[in-house]
Symmetry: C3
Subunit: 160 residues, 3 copies
């Protein structure tokens, strides 16, 4: 058993209890990467709600997409961020703290519930990481996101 054996990872066990299996990390089609390690930190790229290579939904939250659905998509973004982090550090149990989350919500101009949407990401991180999952966070409503995604989440994680 190695440190990357998912059977031994407490974090991945909690993900499994939530019915979530970490996806393979999709390589961006560009000269950037899903995540970068620098010092004791992993910086992830902005993650979209992609499952098995398919964007879960497209459109603006508050008009095309309900806040409840958007919250689930934000959780998917957080799962993809964890997968990106794992691709760099091998074992999610090495995460000592989620330092920062920025959540971008593609928003109808009248929609002001961005925090509730990004709670989908925050709560997922709390459930699987416990106290290490408590992070600083910004949530903002943007005009439009890549591929018309409803939400995009980026993460900075500290690890040991």
């Amino acid at each position: 058993m190695t440190s990357t054996d998912s059977a031994t990872s407490a974090v991945e066990s909690r993900l499994l209890e939530l019915g979530i299996t970490l996806p393979e990390v999709v390589q961006p089609i560009a000269t950037y990467v899903p995540a970068v390690v620098s010092g004791n930190y992993v910086y992830t790229s902005g993650q979209l709600p992609i499952i098995n290579g398919e964007l879960s939904a497209s459109g603006k939250v508050g008009s095309d997409i309900s806040p409840e659905d958007a919250k689930e998509y934000a959780a998917t973004c957080a799962v993809n961020a964890l997968a990106a982090i794992k691709s760099q550090i091998g074992d999610l149990d090495r995460i000592s703290r989620i330092v920062k989350v920025v959540g971008f919500v593609a928003s109808d101009p009248a929609f002001t519930g961005q925090p509730g949407v990004i709670n989908g990401a925050s709560e997922l991180l709390g459930k699987v990481l416990g106290e290490a999952g408590a992070h600083a966070r910004s949530a903002v409503g943007v005009a439009v996101l890549p591929r018309n995604a409803p939400v995009e989440v980026e993460v900075i994680a500290e690890f040991v």
Copy 2:
């Protein structure tokens, strides 16, 4: 006298000279926190212009809100960021540098004066922190912010 005694803090004395008392930090209603310490850094959550629990104003800058008023709200965001930082490190005199400020301005699509708005935050930090307050900064105009706030500011501070 302890290091958290506000009477001994040069930074808080300068805030008081500006007529500003640091607020108590409002805990977000979610699994995130107002600020996180990692290494010698404090990362704050995005701060809204909230005073005594009330959002100072709501709406888009350039239509509902004047740039001049928005600049004052940005200063309030910076004060709230300082309060969040103090909640983690106890004494604002420990700040060695404001490393980064990101300012999000909920903007009418025709409004392009985001830098002038976020100057409200930058100038407040300069006044109370001196050279340690000189930071890298991004200012962008977004579609809409949480609770229809006109401005949101996040800060990364280095401390000793």
Copy 3:
């Protein structure tokens, strides 16, 4: 020859091969600075596509500005970020890694090609920095940017 002699800088040589000369850094008209060094990191301010003090273009990508042109403007933002980094560390060859890029694209609400636009910055960094240029990245579409710029790019670089 000093470490800041551009003739000895491999990174600047590659910029020259691309026909790019690093500009002088324009000081922002505010209490913020083009870039801040903290530890082994340089954080740049958000960079606009300014050449010789002139904004290259203004307007929204997808309506006023073509994605192809916007991609070139993103490359200009990256060049300006490199200039800001050089102003702090003297020699771009000291960059060990571009850790993070955030690209904000002032977008027509129907435009969803933000990644293709920000590729202009990512590809420039890859061409001149090689593997050290491979970064984590977020690309988002915002309502409007300062001075009605079509694109704004901020960078975190690790150096030795």
